[in-house]
């Protein structure tokens, strides 16, 4: 599912879980101005075990007020496990490699590599996490594959309805600063 789908998903869940519990009777215009992208946090790669894909589990300070530490760490650890599974060098990967070599790599026209299969699982997992955990808290995780496996990008959305004046003024100051 593409990022635009996430946004729509997030937006609806934001209204459903985040805004409504606080202000049941919001006018249409208030809802329209409700969410805006406030910040992005980037979880960098952890190269301590070599070139295998692994992300740092250090909890970023910007998320402190938004999500529980354990939930975040669970997500990152699960992602790391998925990537380790994709890059694992063992019996199955050898078999796949030898078979591919024997068929001059034509077999990949009909079959997808193990890595691709795991990437699909990861995409589903991230979507599920976004739906269940992150979107209700005004956060959104981007699949690392869309960022070249360099970072896990977590977008933080502000509810402008509740913090209207502050984010409004910050955007104004942002424009004048440029």
């Amino acid at each position: 599912m593409h990022i635009e789908g996430y946004i729509a998903l997030f937006w609806d869940s934001l209204k459903r879980y985040y805004i409504n519990p606080y202000c049941i009777t919001l006018s249409l215009s208030e809802l329209r101005h409700s969410a805006s992208l406030a910040n992005k946090v980037f979880i960098q790669r952890d190269y301590s075990e070599g070139t295998t894909c692994k992300f740092q589990t250090k909890f970023p300070s910007e998320l402190e007020s938004r999500i529980e530490r354990t939930l975040f760490e669970d997500t990152v650890k699960t992602l790391n496990n998925y990537y380790a599974e994709a890059e694992k060098i063992g019996g199955q990967s050898y078999l796949e490699g030898c078979l591919a070599c024997a068929t001059a790599y034509l077999i990949f026209l009909c079959m997808e590599t193990r890595y691709e299969k795991v990437l699909k699982k990861i995409a589903k997992y991230i979507q599920e996490q976004n739906e269940k955990i992150y979107a209700p808290r005004g956060l959104l995780i981007t699949d690392p594959i869309e960022r070249g496996m360099r970072v896990i990008e977590i977008s933080i959305y502000e509810d402008r309805g509740s913090s209207g004046s502050s984010s409004g003024s910050s955007s104004v100051s942002g424009s004048t600063a440029r």
Partner: protein, 495 residues
């Protein structure tokens, strides 16, 4: 009430677009150029064919030479030598020759046409975030910071990660920036002009198979052409044998010179694979014991067999640059100085400089980057729409590319990092923001997600603001987005 307001807004926005495009009668839908694929705006110096399926380096002349040499030599072998050999000895010879030839060709094409493991450049937000972290680390002195490196301990060995000023990322270990292709490549081995591409993580095994099978093929042809000449000269005499098949002489000459270099190269790469090093590391002597007593290769698995298996039979990672994907339409990014830190070194100043210089980017500089659905931002979104419609930015010449190796030498060109990358910071930063502000990977804010008419029935109060902005998008290309959004909403409503 709101309907009326947004309708009038929409009218204003439509008329704004049409005046800019100077065709007042045309609707925005017709005016929109077809969606570009990502390879068309790729910032590196690569050539793409078959609508992004094939990726090669910029200079491909030597690759065609390789192809011609192989095809001509094998063609001559099959035409002139094989009939004689099949008769005199056994017909298995042409069959084996044929299999070898096909394997060589297959691996050559696979090496040349595939993505070697190019790392996509950082998005603007990422680069800004990194710059901010580096500034904080440097104490924010405001002076030109020293060359940026990060140290990391891998399996007990300290490895320095360098910051790439072109790609604006900290290079992963074993990655290197190829000056010829202007890309950072994972597990960069070398840039091979004979193959017309970089050799990196994703195509190293094909490259190795290519040179291995080519050495077998060369030896095979050499041996059997000599056999042919000897057998033929037993029957007719040496000189008449040569006169009968002059092609054999040519083949012998080509194979003789090839054997030394190709077999030598295969041997060298076999050594590299068994010790799990790249050509780059070997040349620099990164892991040689001469550097220090405790210097060892942290990536090696310990034994030769595991190293070989890992390099040749390990999992093949997918391409990180989505060549055939479509370029996203306008996606907003963060306002940089929301947290009070206004100075990002040269990046921001360069950006505002470039923004002033180019008319297209004027819109970007004048608007607050945090986009909301407030109606006054309608004009800014227009600006972003026009930004997305610009033609592919030609990659600006960056730094001093090393000239391609002379064709007389048969060794592959190793484009090591000997270029003082940090000395090129100024030129890199001047030319890159233009590329990067066009080639961006952004998000759509919730307000910008176009909603199909069906979604209005879901009772979404955002429906009106959606359609207000949705006018910019070509409906045909948004079908997949609509589908996803609808699917997403349906999923949630079922919860």
């Amino acid at each position: 009430m709101h309907l009326g307001v947004s309708e009038s807004m929409r009218e204003c926005e439509y008329s704004q677009i049409s005046t800019r495009s100077s065709t007042p009668m045309e609707t925005p839908y017709k005016k929109r150029t077809p969606k570009k694929r990502k390879w068309e705006i790729f910032p590196g110096r690569n050539k793409f064919y078959c609508d992004g399926r094939i990726m090669m380096a910029k200079q491909t002349g030597v690759f065609y030479l390789t192809l011609i040499l192989i095809l001509v030599t094998c063609g001559l072998f099959f035409t002139f030598d094989c009939p004689f050999l099949a008769q005199q000895l056994t017909p298995v010879i042409p069959v084996i020759g044929g299999v070898l030839f096909l394997f060589v060709l297959g691996t050559l094409l696979r090496t040349s046409f595939s993505d070697p493991g190019v790392l996509p450049r950082a998005t603007q937000d990422e680069a800004a975030d990194l710059e901010r972290q580096i500034d904080v680390a440097n104490g924010g002195t405001g002076y030109r910071p020293p060359p940026r490196t990060k140290e990391v301990v891998i399996n007990g060995q300290t490895v320095k990660l360098k910051y790439c000023f072109t790609c604006k990322i900290f290079r992963p270990p074993r990655a290197s920036h190829c000056s010829l292709c202007d890309n950072c490549v994972e597990r960069f081995d070398h840039h091979c002009p004979w193959v017309g591409n970089c050799v990196g993580r994703r195509n190293y095994r094909f490259f190795y198979m290519f040179i291995l099978s080519l050495s077998f093929l060369t030896i095979f042809i050499f041996a059997f052409v000599i056999t042919h000449i000897i057998l033929s000269s037993h029957q007719n005499g040496f000189l008449s044998a040569l006169k009968d098949s002059p092609a054999s002489v040519l083949e012998v000459v080509v194979c003789f010179f090839s054997v030394w270099s190709i077999v030598g190269l295969s041997g060298f790469h076999t050594y590299l694979i068994s010790s799990n090093q790249t050509t780059n590391e070997d040349i620099k002597g990164s892991w040689s014991s001469k550097r220090g007593k405790d210097n060892y290769n942290p990536y090696s698995y310990g034994n030769i067999f595991t190293n070989c298996c890992a390099a040749l039979c390990g999992p093949l990672p997918p391409s990180l640059i989505d060549r055939r994907g479509f370029v996203e339409a306008d996606v907003p990014q963060l306002a940089p100085p929301t947290n009070g830190i206004t100075m990002y070194g040269s990046t921001q100043s360069q950006q505002s400089h470039m923004a002033a210089a180019t008319p297209l980017l004027q819109h970007q500089s004048s608007e607050p980057v945090i986009l909301t659905t407030s109606p006054e931002n309608g004009g800014t979104l227009t600006g972003r729409a026009s930004l997305a419609l610009t033609g592919p930015c030609t990659s600006l010449p960056l730094g001093q590319p090393t000239p391609p190796n002379s064709t007389s030498s048969l060794s592959c060109h190793e484009a090591t990092d000997k270029l003082p990358v940090h000395g090129h910071t100024l030129t890199h930063n001047h030319s890159n923001p233009l590329q990067e502000s066009v080639f961006q990977h952004h998000f759509l804010t919730p307000e910008e997600v176009p909603s199909p008419p069906g979604m209005l029935h879901c009772g979404s109060p955002m429906g009106h603001s959606h359609t207000a902005q949705a006018g910019f998008y070509d409906p045909a290309s948004q079908d997949s987005l609509h589908e996803d959004s609808v699917r997403g909403l349906v999923k949630l409503s079922s919860v």
